[in-house]
Symmetry: C2
Subunit: 129 residues, 2 copies
DNA sequence: CGCATCCTTCCCATTATTGGAAGGATGCGG
DNA sequence: CCGCATCCTTCCAATAATGGGAAGGATGCG
């Protein structure tokens, strides 16, 4: 049983966020002391690391909660998990395309801007067009 | 002089957001009636469209405020604008790379997940590893 | 004149995280 | 065994940008 500080050190999730995950019901400590201290069992630490990784993949906390429930269910079908992963890939694709379009337009505008002491600048001209 | 509703229709910025931009000092109406109604001059509408475009390029409101100030300054050097645009390109690049890395890992995991009724799934296994 | 539609301000919610304050609990050195 | 450092607790607030809604006043038109 680890205190919240120890759990934070071991999982790389800040104590602040661990309390937050507790408050929203995502990962709750197995034990609360009489004084209210949170104590995390190994399985809890595992869940915290799971959450951290899912967040790194860009899953929202809500998606992460679903994945966590699936992970805890030994009998779930892998299809449910796979479809979530593919949906996340599609969301990432859309976001990437959007950012690439922004980037390309900006690069194009910047290439046509002298970037000197004179005021002429197609970037602002385009923004105001 | 357009009322906020007319300004919203003409610029595509919602009345809600126009009020918000006023409250944070980004774009203020040229005139306020005795009753407190906001009235927007052509230059104000221009500024609202400018803001909308800058936001479409992924500039933050703070960056947008700077660009707007540069745009309003007839004597600014184009170098200042160009460096902001290039900084934004760099930020977009970093974000794109990050999303591509997420995407690739997820695709790889999903490819190795059968996605059937059985529980075996490398996606969850990786998340919990 | 009355009703529909607009407008105002103010408050709250979202998403995920971070910050701080005020106060209680624990642990260790002297 | 006392006091201090460090941990912990809860609550409140802020971030960025937008949206939703309530309560109430203003306007416009028939």
């Amino acid at each position: 049983m680890q205190s919240i500080g120890e759990a934070a050190r071991e999982t790389g999730v800040t104590a602040k966020m661990i309390r937050h995950y507790d408050s929203i019901g995502l990962v709750k400590p197995s034990v609360r002391s009489d004084a209210g201290y949170r104590y995390y069992a190994d399985a809890d630490l595992h869940a915290l690391r799971f959450v951290k990784r899912a967040r790194n993949f860009g899953f929202s906390l809500e998606q992460t909660a679903t994945l966590l429930a699936l992970w805890r269910d030994r009998h779930r079908a892998s299809a449910a998990v796979k479809s979530m992963a593919l949906a996340q890939v599609a969301a990432l694709d859309a976001k990437i395309l959007e950012l690439q379009a922004m980037r390309q337009t900006l690069v194009h505008l910047a290439q046509n801007c002298r970037g000197n002491q004179r005021p002429e600048c197609p970037i602002l001209e385009d923004l105001s067009a």
